[in-house]
């Protein structure tokens, strides 16, 4: 919506100006390509097909969370609860798919579809509570979701008794381990979520509502947009995607851990911000978030390949976030 279109009138421009404009428009993508080229030169395995599949798989969970986060941030909100909802949806849905006598609900393992529905439902419920408090009761999103971060984690520990839910059925585990034409299921789901979100934001009426409600809620309201419903909906979307991510995580690790997802909200927010979405709302695209999530995964993967210690990785990731935002601000000043 708010993309910077070329405004040149066709007069002669020198190469440097064109390069500068390219940098402004495609800064994050250029950074991703640059990092990839660097890593490909530094490590022979980086560009292998298997490693690329790994990177995508490692980007999936954070990417799915970040896409939900994009919706929320576009409306000037924030969802700090996604990490906890990942764990909650993971243990609740896993208890429906578990063959363990102690950890499962009665009659389990239930059909995989039921377990998935329960997981999504858990995420939607948590998101609906967030959305209801933010939209109807005007409680700041930061406060509401900070509360949910704590409450959902607590519910996770209560529900699971602090123990993992093991023995997941094969059907359920397929969410994390199966592949479709050689592409791992988490990547397939990530791609599906991305395409869906892209379509919703770019091509549907609801997408227009999200951008307008985030860009200027007053103007949107006067223009006949039900801003409160839009706000409610974005938290539900974020919650549902956190639920999906929680199930993928449980399926990948083989059991649902109540400690799962701690601090995942930070990486999700980082991917959104690196992708150029403004925390002030109304500006940003889900393609940016995709690139942001890939960039984080590529950097983590590359540094692992080169044997850089994870503590240094954190420092590098921190620098990357700030650099991305600086680049973005420079782009806006130039526009």
């Amino acid at each position: 919506m708010a993309g910077q279109q070329p405004t040149g009138t066709g007069t002669a421009r020198n190469g440097r100006a064109m390069l500068a404009e390219f940098g402004q428009r495609y800064g994050i993508l250029a950074a991703l390509v640059l990092v990839c080229v660097g890593l490909a030169l530094a490590n022979e395995f980086f560009l292998t097909q298997r490693n690329m599949v790994n990177v995508l798989r490692q980007a999936s969970i954070n990417g799915i969370l970040a896409i939900g986060m994009t919706f929320v941030i576009l409306t000037r909100g924030i969802d700090l609860s996604v990490g906890s909802v990942v764990a909650l949806a993971g243990v609740v849905s896993a208890s429906f798919a578990s063959t363990s006598a102690t950890a499962a609900v009665s009659g389990a393992p239930h059909p995989t579809l039921l377990a998935i529905a329960v997981g999504l439902g858990t995420g939607i419920l948590a998101g609906a509570v967030n959305g209801w408090l933010v939209a109807r009761h005007k409680v700041p999103a930061f406060v509401v979701t900070l509360g949910m971060l704590s409450a959902a984690r607590g519910l996770t520990l209560i529900y699971s008794g602090g123990r993992p839910v093991p023995g997941l059925s094969d059907g359920y585990r397929a969410l994390g381990t199966a592949d479709l034409f050689g592409i791992p299921m988490p990547v397939v789901l990530f791609a599906g979520v991305f395409l869906g979100a892209w379509f919703v934001l770019e091509a549907t009426r609801f997408g227009r509502h999200v951008y307008a409600a985030g860009g200027n809620p007053h103007a949107a309201r006067v223009s006949g947009i039900r801003v409160e419903r839009v706000r409610m909906a974005v938290y539900v979307i974020s919650g549902a995607l956190a639920g999906l991510a929680g199930m993928i995580l449980a399926a990948r690790t083989g059991s649902a851990l109540p400690q799962a997802g701690i601090a995942y909200e930070l990486d999700a927010i980082a991917a959104v911000v690196i992708g150029g979405t403004s925390l002030a709302g109304g500006v940003g695209r889900v393609t940016g978030t995709l690139i942001g999530a890939l960039l984080i995964a590529v950097v983590n993967n590359g540094l692992d390949l080169m044997g850089v210690e994870s503590y240094y990785q954190q420092v590098i990731k921190g620098g990357l976030i700030v650099a991305a935002v600086m680049l973005d601000q420079a782009r806006h000043r130039a526009a």
Partner: protein, 327 residues
């Protein structure tokens, strides 16, 4: 579902009042955090101690929420309320010393359990030697690969006492096999998901060279197994070991995917409680079954400064019995 609300124990203990239980010793247990399975087992065993069940002693468990400062404050609470003894499982070997000092100054004996604290004021310590387990788990991997080839080490959070000591044991065993190369060594912070990502990337960076995986806890070893599967490789081609004996690991041992060494948290908890009661009531005789279970760890009238709960390698023979205990 099971619901374990340990905080409720605290509330009920306080609500029941001190008058009715005036002559029953009150013992506090400050543990670093109750989110993980191992400490769940530890705490459950403490409450299942015969002396607690028979009402001879009143036990309150404080969840330190993985924060040294929270533990410090909980010590202050226990001192104010005049607890008779404290069992301490610190988050960090260094951070707990001040808390122990404060309790000592107030005349309250402190007993260490599971995790060491850098203080000579502990009345006694019941734990398991992490150097020994590190040695045992590495030895298993090395034996499997025939003392040759490449291994990776997935470490706990750098600087934690368990990481330091398990690594010491790992390296001690590795020194016995000079032909074995350590291909990579990095932390995954005790986390299954982090270890999975790490292992995926290592498998890419070092194709065909990794024969053994030393995971300093079970969660990380389990993450490595998932990574191997995801890469389309056979778990049978790798020698993998973890430590702790969490339920998922017991299952994996049963399936033949890995080896684990059981750290008997239950024994650490009950042993510490026996010692604590003894300190309050000099004529007390230990009631826990662990003293019979581990003849290598004699009671010695509760006078030793250190009690070492032996490690139990999980084998195909004992895994079913161990799993039975977790039901």
């Amino acid at each position: 579902m099971r619901t374990i609300l340990r905080t409720l124990t605290l509330t009920t203990a306080l609500a029941c009042g001190t008058a009715a239980m005036a002559d029953v010793p009150r013992i506090g247990a400050a543990v670093y955090g109750l989110n993980a399975e191992f400490m769940q087992i530890w705490a459950a065993a403490l409450e299942d101690h015969p002396a607690v069940r028979e009402g001879l002693v009143n036990v309150t468990i404080f969840d330190g929420r993985y924060d040294a400062l929270v533990q410090q404050e909980q010590f202050e609470t226990m001192i104010t309320q005049g607890f008779d003894a404290i069992i301490f499982v610190p988050i960090d070997i260094e951070a707990g010393a001040a808390a122990v000092q404060a309790a000592h100054d107030a005349g309250i004996p402190v007993f260490g359990s599971n995790t060491r604290v850098n203080s000579d004021l502990l009345t006694s310590y019941v734990g398991s030697d992490d150097v020994q387990s590190g040695y045992m788990q590495a030895r298993y991997v090395l034996d499997q690969i025939g003392c040759t080839g490449g291994v990776v080490i997935i470490e706990g959070p750098i600087g934690q006492s368990a990481q330091i000591q398990r690594l010491e044991g790992n390296l001690k065993a590795l020194a016995e096999c000079p032909d074995v190369e350590i291909i990579a060594q990095q932390t995954a912070n005790w986390s299954r998901a982090e270890a999975q990502t790490l292992m995926e990337n290592w498998l890419t960076a070092h194709p065909g060279r990794i024969a053994g995986v030393i995971g300093q806890n079970d969660e990380m070893a389990l993450g490595a197994i998932e990574a191997i599967r995801a890469a389309g490789l056979s778990v049978d081609d790798f020698a993998i070991s973890g430590i702790d004996g969490v339920t998922d690991a017991l299952r994996a041992v049963k399936a033949g995917d890995m080896a684990s060494i059981l750290q008997d948290g239950a024994a650490q908890a009950q042993g510490a409680l026996d010692l604590a009661i003894r300190a309050v009531q000099p004529d007390y005789e230990p009631m826990s079954a662990i003293w019979e279970q581990y003849p290598d760890m004699p009671w010695n009238d509760g006078a030793d400064a250190e009690y070492n709960v032996p490690w139990t390698p999980v084998t195909e023979e004992n895994v079913d019995a161990l799993l039975e205990l977790r039901q």
